[in-house]
Symmetry: C2
């Protein structure tokens, strides 16, 4: 498919980024948010994402054993239901480690939403983020659902993007579009939340994606899993995994395009655009990482296998000592070596390791080499830092995004009271 210039957007490959795009940039999707009183601040703390269409929906969830009630309930719903019309999300209380009462409250949230949205319970899923161990205030939840369902709007995506935040400083939203025929655009919108407890499988990260494409459930599942591994499962902020994460995609088939399988027309276009949306949101999460002053890319190349590449990349990305050095703008490559060397079970030869900071060779044969100190000093001041670790031990690679460890991370997390 040829690249096309949108009226107000930017061209990226075969798709266009929609200016100020969000989940409700997708035809047939509506959203609304309000402050129902879960958060003590006046910030919005509940939202509904809604489509009147029967949507195909896929989800990926935290693998934490203390999986929160809304995650359990949503998993169950998506197993049974053939179509989904609404997602109710609250922030402020995670409804995690809340036992049977918490499970009942997640179910009750669905009942309340079904009443106000005039749809059946089986087509509604729920999601929560916030403090662990508190029960949802159900009177406030009911007020919020009533309020949101009365003002659903095709401009409501931005409000929803705000309502799902906790310690995030910025909203994370995007929509992209590609042309599937002369008069039909396929649009993919997404919003995300997350800035701490960010570690694969998954992170305190909520991601909601909408699209007007028609697609088979099995194909949507496959694309979602594959692209999650390349985006939200390839980022870390603090190595801490949350109880509440989910990435959910709803496809409402408003367009006439239907993707049955990988051979369907427009499959590549959709996959490509979907991948961009996922990676864009994942990067935004790391950039907004708690206290982060740096976005750091760690790419391990020429590893024996992908598992080793992944383990080694995460070892460096989660090393507190390395992250502190990045915050201090100090190219302390010894801490990269020490982190690599500590990965028990990984097969590589320490004498073959090369490390590049940007394009500058800093380690060869496992040892430091001379480099231009002024150039490095200036590069270390940049917002985005890139490291490539060449193991010279195979042909597999893996890339992880991480943030530095700063005073503000401590401040935020020492003072985020239970």
């Amino acid at each position: 498919m040829a690249t096309k210039q949108s009226k107000n957007g930017e061209n990226i490959n075969n798709f266009t980024i929609i200016k100020d795009g969000t989940i409700t940039s997708v035809p047939g999707f509506y959203a609304a948010a309000c402050h129902c009183g879960i958060k003590s601040s006046k910030k919005p703390d509940i939202c509904i994402i809604y489509t009147p269409e029967d949507s195909i929906c896929s989800g990926v969830y935290t693998k934490n054993k203390f999986c929160a009630a809304p995650v359990q309930v949503t998993k169950e719903t998506l197993k049974k239901s053939k179509s989904i019309k609404a997602i109710v999300v609250n922030s402020g209380v995670a409804n995690a480690c809340t036992g049977k009462t918490g499970y009942g409250n997640a179910k009750k949230t669905i009942d309340i939403a079904a009443k106000y949205l005039k749809t059946d319970c089986g087509s509604i899923i729920v999601s929560s983020t916030g403090v662990i161990g508190k029960q949802l205030p159900m009177d406030k939840i009911e007020y919020g659902i009533k309020e949101c369902s009365s003002k659903l709007s095709s401009n409501g995506g931005h409000d929803a993007a705000k309502a799902i935040l906790t310690t995030d400083l910025q909203t994370k939203e995007i929509a992209v579009s590609f042309n599937a025929s002369d008069d039909e655009d396929i649009i993919i919108g997404g919003i995300a939340k997350g800035s701490g407890m960010i570690e694969p499988d998954m992170a305190t990260l909520l991601v909601f994606i909408t699209t007007n494409i028609g697609i088979s459930k099995s194909l949507l599942d496959e694309i979602l899993h594959e692209e999650t591994d390349k985006s939200f499962n390839s980022i870390t902020i603090d190595g801490c995994q949350s109880t509440n994460d989910m990435v959910v995609v709803m496809a409402n088939a408003r367009s006439s395009v239907f993707l049955k399988d990988k051979n369907s027309k427009y499959y590549d276009d959709f996959k490509n655009a979907f991948s961009y949306v996922m990676k864009y949101l994942a990067k935004k999460i790391v950039m907004d990482g708690e206290g982060a002053t740096k976005l750091i890319k760690i790419k391990v190349i020429n590893a024996k296998d992908i598992a080793d590449a992944r383990t080694l990349a995460f070892k460096v990305a989660n090393s507190n000592l390395f992250k502190c050095a990045m915050f201090g703008q100090d190219l302390n490559w010894g801490r990269i070596n020490a982190a690599l060397g500590s990965a028990a079970g990984c097969d590589f030869d320490s004498d073959k390791v090369k490390i590049y900071f940007d394009d500058i060779l800093i380690v060869e044969n496992g040892m430091g080499v001379e480099f231009d100190k002024v150039e490095v000093k200036n590069l270390m001041k940049e917002r985005e830092l890139n490291f490539t670790i060449d193991l010279n031990y195979g042909d597999k690679s893996f890339e992880v995004l991480t943030a530095d460890l700063s005073f503000d991370y401590i401040k935020i997390n020492a003072l985020y009271r239970t």
Copy 2:
């Protein structure tokens, strides 16, 4: 053996803690330290620990793949040599990731020491700690060795304890004694170094133990490995593993007691006292953890097996979010649950988990329970915090010591320039 009161010490079980005890409290051990110029400050940066006796010596080392040159050389020496007389330790430069030159310098250090100590190369081992990637300044090393070997003293242990420090704020030293007959004391002395990059197998941690007992090599190896697992392999400060760690014990057989095997007389007494020395030094290291304001004990009990208990204890002990909450004196138990739940591969039932803070039940059936907020608030102000995680899933347990994550950790590690 009966408990006995020492003149100036404290009774602990069957042994006595020697007041101001150190490695040279052990008969036949001498030490000296000086500033040879590796560190830019005027602090001591090299020391020698020496005994004229042929000593049995055992070592445990880092498992880091980027194992430093002194670790490699010491491993080789201890494999070949039947007895050891001296350890040369420098701080300031780790001689890690230094290739063949670094390896050669470690060997050269031994040659120099052999010359000044008038002993053969095979009876000398070396150890280094400090910045990774720099070569040892051999002229300064020679000066330091010459200086130290000329002033070896039975009071030199305290100076050696100072010379091995890097970011440590405090020296870590101890000696204990037990009576093996009417006129013979068995003494065990130890010094240690470490406050960052502390994580099992091992940590930037150097430990040197001396004793006047006679012991078979195989028994000393066994005791050292077993007690290392219970002490230095059960602590963490930042989850970061070093390239240079070693724990070395020298037994010079000045006393007439000889331990051939576990059935030998005084075996239990020795093991017990040795264990105390190891655990005491390990605890001191965590208490002196970089920026640490809290010493936190995490005990996982009733686990299915020790491996799970260990993994889960370390998951909590290394959770940045948990450690920040401890620094903030906030009993955020949700972060303990989240950390436990993130331990992939561990077998337990989240609904059965109980957590105690000190003696106060804070989590039952995986959920928070009501507790006395004032009592908890006061306990959170203490220097030492104790958590017991009861999995109710077996009968195995494991205990880990960790520190909190504070502003000062960041400060120290962002500004520790390469």
